[in-house]
Symmetry: C2
Subunit: 233 residues, 2 copies
């Protein structure tokens, strides 16, 4: 009997936004795994920290910060191999992911590497998408409105084309792409309808009209353009 790999969404940042199911699985884990950025701290682990029991084995995956794919692939290969060893001897592994594992989550790379050999269960989590909307007090979509989610690294021309034809838009992973995205939204005359949200639900949270956003943004920042959302019925 091999173990089960759990891919667990720990939500957007506030430890209280972890689900009851994720909390139960983390508290009961003997081995946890999580990615870290460039050898630094793990945001996913920090969110779940109070639930991790002393003595839990921890598998760190140091994912290098680069747009080249090969170094990140090597990190997930190495992490998957370590996880496979634990699963093969019949023990479960609980993998922690920021937000939701299947919504721009790194867990999908482990899932792809391990799902053919082991039982995998994925536990959805609260995404930064809806967390940012609630913190900004802006409904994302109502009734028959469309919602478009765009990653900030997309090329300028594509961002422009996709925002132009959309109703509600959420731009994820803003980070160093903020000047480009701001330029696109300005050019479309939509700056008045845009909100910048940084580290939603954490004590350091920032919610500002896009016009007042800082010059540099962290990776975990989002822009909401809810031009279509009419919350009144």
């Amino acid at each position: 009997m091999t173990g089960t790999l759990y891919g667990i969404g720990v939500g957007p940042g506030d430890p209280e936004l972890i689900t009851l199911k994720a909390a139960r699985l983390i508290e009961g884990a003997t081995t946890i795994a999580y990615p870290t950025l460039a050898g630094g701290d793990s945001f996913a682990r920090a969110i779940a920290a109070d639930l991790i029991r002393p003595g839990t084995t921890e598998i760190r995956m140091d994912v290098p910060m680069t747009t080249a794919r090969a170094p990140a692939q090597a990190a997930y290969d190495a992490g998957a191999a370590q996880i496979a060893e634990v699963l093969a001897r019949g023990e479960d592994v609980v993998c922690l992911c920021e937000g939701d594992p299947f919504f721009y989550g790194s867990f999908m790379y482990l899932n792809a590497r391990l799902v053919d050999r082991f039982a995998v269960e994925v536990i959805p989590g609260v995404t930064s998408l809806t967390a940012c909307a609630t913190r900004a007090r802006q409904p994302l979509a109502a009734r028959n409105e469309r919602l478009t989610v765009l990653p900030g690294p997309l090329p300028e021309a594509e961002l422009r084309a996709r925002i132009e034809g959309a109703e509600s838009v959420v731009i994820m992973k803003v980070g160093r792409h903020l000047p480009k995205i701001r330029g696109v939204i300005d050019a479309l005359g939509l700056t008045d309808q845009a909100t910048y949200v940084e580290r939603a639900t954490l004590p350091q949270e920032v919610v500002l009209p896009l016009a007042d956003a800082p010059q540099t943004a962290p990776y975990f920042s989002i822009i909401l353009l809810t031009k279509g959302a009419d919350p009144w019925l």
Copy 2:
């Protein structure tokens, strides 16, 4: 001092997918409120049932099942008036919403009616969007992929145009629109990439290739078209 209105996402259906924060607020509530469809049971209340303490006052909003807006508006007006009475005497009200309050959630109609007069706090929840993806074992979006969310009631021509230009697509509120949506996906030659998910995370959950989906679908059903998602890095 007036009370605070909490709009709480209780997640997609599995009571264990309620967040720790929502659970704490529901357990501590003296008054809860929730919508019911056409006088029937409340799905949101059913999800949270085990957390509601005996003696809790309950405000039901019977939202009629009709595409006309006026009857639903009257139901939210009446509900908001009842909630305002409790808030005005200094007590909090915890409003339960399926999924997330600001993601196609009914709470936004109460928020619009009450936010100018009372303190409102919105607690995000796990959406059916990511719950369905995890249950279907299909990552929604990775890296720089775009994600488009479309409500099933949209007209056929618009659905077709929006799906055609998209990468990952999720169609919400399928229900009685299933034959129309199936026709659009068939015509685009995408049926092989489409998955039907009904009542995700509940014991009655159904996950099927769209080709094998039933003829009639409940309101809480979704179609995933993850033609863009490449989970391998």
